[in-house]
């Protein structure tokens, strides 16, 4: 019963994610594309919840939907070029090649997906606060086994601050 409900939830959320992802390509105005991407990000966050990755699901909204996409929206409003130029194709001949290649890729994907063992989510056991996906489990792993990536991240962010400031500021101001 609950298994069926989970499947229905997955299908609905996945359909929203795919539809809004396609909408990114359909829209001409980059602002609408950005808004569709936000919808995709939010539905992915719901899928993370069904996989028990609660912390990542929350971070997905705080960082991706709430910070990175705000930056995109600001940049789009700042530049204000709603009408893009017509999408010209340079090499029309490549389109003919695309169809067989796409066919091969889709066939390969089906082949691979059929090989996957029918896994189910592991049964929860022990202290619910220590289960994979909670703040505690992420934190302990991040600050012990993954300490080096974490410290390098701070340097990366510092470099991004310096780089972006130098690039975006005009010489005069």
């Amino acid at each position: 019963m609950t298994g069926e409900l989970e499947k229905i939830l997955f299908i609905v959320v996945a359909a929203i994610a795919v539809a809004s992802a396609l909408n990114i390509l359909i829209q001409r105005n980059p602002l609408y594309s950005a808004l569709s991407l936000i919808v995709t990000l939010l539905s992915l966050s719901v899928l993370y919840l069904t996989l028990r990755a609660q912390f990542i699901a929350a971070i997905q909204i705080v960082v991706y939907a709430g910070a990175i996409m705000v930056l995109f929206v600001f940049a789009i409003m700042l530049l204000n070029v709603p009408k893009t130029q017509p999408e010209v194709e340079k090499q029309k001949g490549l389109r003919l090649l695309a169809i067989p290649f796409a066919g091969v890729l889709i066939a390969e994907m089906f082949f691979v997906l059929r090989q996957i063992r029918p896994l189910t989510l592991p049964v929860l056991s022990g202290d619910p606060d220590q289960v994979v996906g909670t703040t505690w489990s992420i934190g302990t792993a991040l600050f012990s086994d993954y300490l080096l990536p974490f410290e390098v991240t701070s340097v990366l962010i510092l470099m991004a601050v310096v780089g972006a400031m130098v690039l975006a500021r005009r010489e005069g101001d």
């Binding site: 989970e6 996989l51 997906l113 996906g133």
Partner: protein
């Protein structure tokens, strides 16, 4: 229960949509949005495998990927803004020279 293959198929689908967007779109910002979509498709694979194998490593990868994506977005959009200032255009076909 939702099988693992469903998550992987969805992830592949989203990645493909993102890749197609990078190829067919001409607006630099939209291309950037499609790259973000591809990153998220990969993140879904990481989280799905992490959940099904009960290993926290995949989720940490996603955490780091998000950080890198933030740095990338900040620098990338700054580049786009400075290109726009010099060229008055966001069409990537017009900015194919490696100089401003």
């Amino acid at each position: 229960m939702v099988p693992l293959s469903w998550y992987l198929a969805l992830s592949a689908l989203l990645f493909t949509i993102g890749a197609v967007g990078v190829f067919i779109k001409r607006n630099a910002i939209t291309i950037f949005l499609c790259i973000e979509l591809m990153l998220n498709a990969v993140n879904l694979t990481f989280v799905a495998l992490s959940g099904f194998f009960g290993d926290v490593g995949g989720q940490l990868f996603v955490f780091i990927v998000m950080t890198v994506a933030a740095a990338e977005a900040a620098v990338g959009l700054a580049i786009i803004i400075s290109i726009f200032r010099n060229r008055e255009s966001l069409n990537v076909d017009e900015v194919d020279a490696m100089k401003l």
